[in-house]
Amino acid sequence: MNYNWDWGVFFKSTGVGSETYLDWYITGLGWTILIAVAAWIIALLLGSVLGVMRTVPNRLVSGIATCYVELFRNVPLLVQLFIWYFLVPDLLPEGLQEWYKQDLNPTTSALISVVICLGLFTAARVCEQVRTGIQALPRGQEAAARAMGFSLPQIYNNVLLPQAYRIIIPPLTSEFLNVFKNSSVASLIGLMELLAQTKQTAEFSANLFEAFTLATLIYFTLNMGLMLLMRLVEKKVAVPGLISVGGK
């Protein structure tokens, strides 16, 4: 068995243009971050709306949000991605369909599909966290706001949501990290994000173990870095007087 270990492989030329393998990883990381951040923005906005809908005292509104969550949680991410990438463009009106399939650069259309898919998929999870956060608040908060004459939108905007978000930072952090990990499915529809670049490096250089070790390290560092950052944020915005603050 001969395997040529070579940790310097990343500084070697790929033979494609003047790029080194390291350049590929950097490009891939850029894509991964772009997908994850864009999807996270959608997830956070939509998830918050859905989370509020689930707690509103109206059966129809909360029912719609519940259906959304059940639907998006019980279909595998990959199936959802294929639906957004292969099926949904076929459902678009003629003019739009032509633009999406022919005028748009294939990378852009894949990017749009994966961002929408991941955003809506994660929104279902964010919704559950927001709902938990709102329901974890003492009932007196809502009652007091109501007694002060706040309208329902005011109660959510000024009283419930600012507190709920601060409680759910830890679970939201892990969802945020999940978006980064889940963005790797983009490699299956041809986007050259981190995992796809890793596979390509492994194939081009034949240095399989080095290629995947570096990818693992990048994902690991990204995770740890974001986790530490969110822990700082959590401490900064903690609600005084709650047990989780640490008895200050």
Binding site: Y3, E70, F82, F86, L87, K181
Partner: protein, 223 residues
């Protein structure tokens, strides 16, 4: 776009073969994952600093990388590793490498569930077992773990449902699971959209009813 679902009926036997592959992957992942996860949880809880750090590192490592990366890596690396160990060419298929990947990846998640389960058992149980003269292994095997597993059954099942959905990722190594067989049969007759929707519906019905049952079980178990 016109939809025509009539092509699905003749394709059902093929789809069932794919589903059998999916279920096989899931079951082996669950069994291996829980077994390895339990060992890891006991290591994490052991009084030996070294063992608990090792298990902690394992869990942290696998929880911070994507499952798709693990599947891809193992698919490419397992044949190499086996050759190093056995010294000769040992052909392993995609199936074996995927099962190994699922077992090792899920073990990290199962470990955390088992750990929480063991920690939720009251200390008196441990003390009483020791007072009866049981050693550590006996205490764990006969007293703590049976109670812990009962408590954490809903969580283990929930994680298993997630694993059921995640098995679709074997698409990347070309294994013909349910999703892949649906895509292949759809492509042949030019009805890939219908087959994709059908696959999504089947996944949904199975996961949804399973989660529903788990929720009911949870209500019955919690006092």
């Amino acid at each position: 776009m016109d939809m025509d679902f009539s092509g699905i009926v003749p394709a059902l036997p093929g789809l069932w073969n794919g589903m059998k592959m999916t279920l096989q992957l899931m079951l082996m992942g669950i069994i291996g994952g829980i077994a390895l996860g339990t060992v890891l949880a006991l290591m994490r809880l052991s009084s030996s600093k070294l063992l608990s750090r090792l298990a902690g590192a394992y869990v942290n490592y696998f929880r911070s990388i994507p499952l798709l990366l693990v599947i891809t890596w193992f698919y490419l690396a397992v044949p190499f590793v086996l050759r190093w160990i056995t010294g000769e060419d040992t052909p392993v298929g995609a199936f074996t490498s995927c099962v190994v990947a699922f077992m090792m990846f899920e073990a990290a998640y199962f470990c955390e569930i088992v750990r929480a389960g063991v920690q939720s058992i009251s200390k008196g149980q441990m003390a009483a077992a020791q007072a009866l003269g049981m050693n550590y292994a006996q205490t764990m095997r006969l007293i703590i773990l049976p109670q812990a597993f009962r408590k954490m059954t809903p969580l283990l099942l929930q994680q298993s449902i997630i694993l059921f959905q995640d098995t679709s990722l074997v698409y990347t190594v070309g294994l013909v699971d349910f999703l892949n067989s649906a895509r292949a049969s759809g492509d042949i007759i030019g009805r890939s959209n219908e087959f994709l929707l059908f696959a999504g519906a089947v996944y949904f019905v199975i996961s949804f009813s399973a989660s529903f049952l788990v929720k009911r079980l949870q209500k019955r178990i919690t006092v």
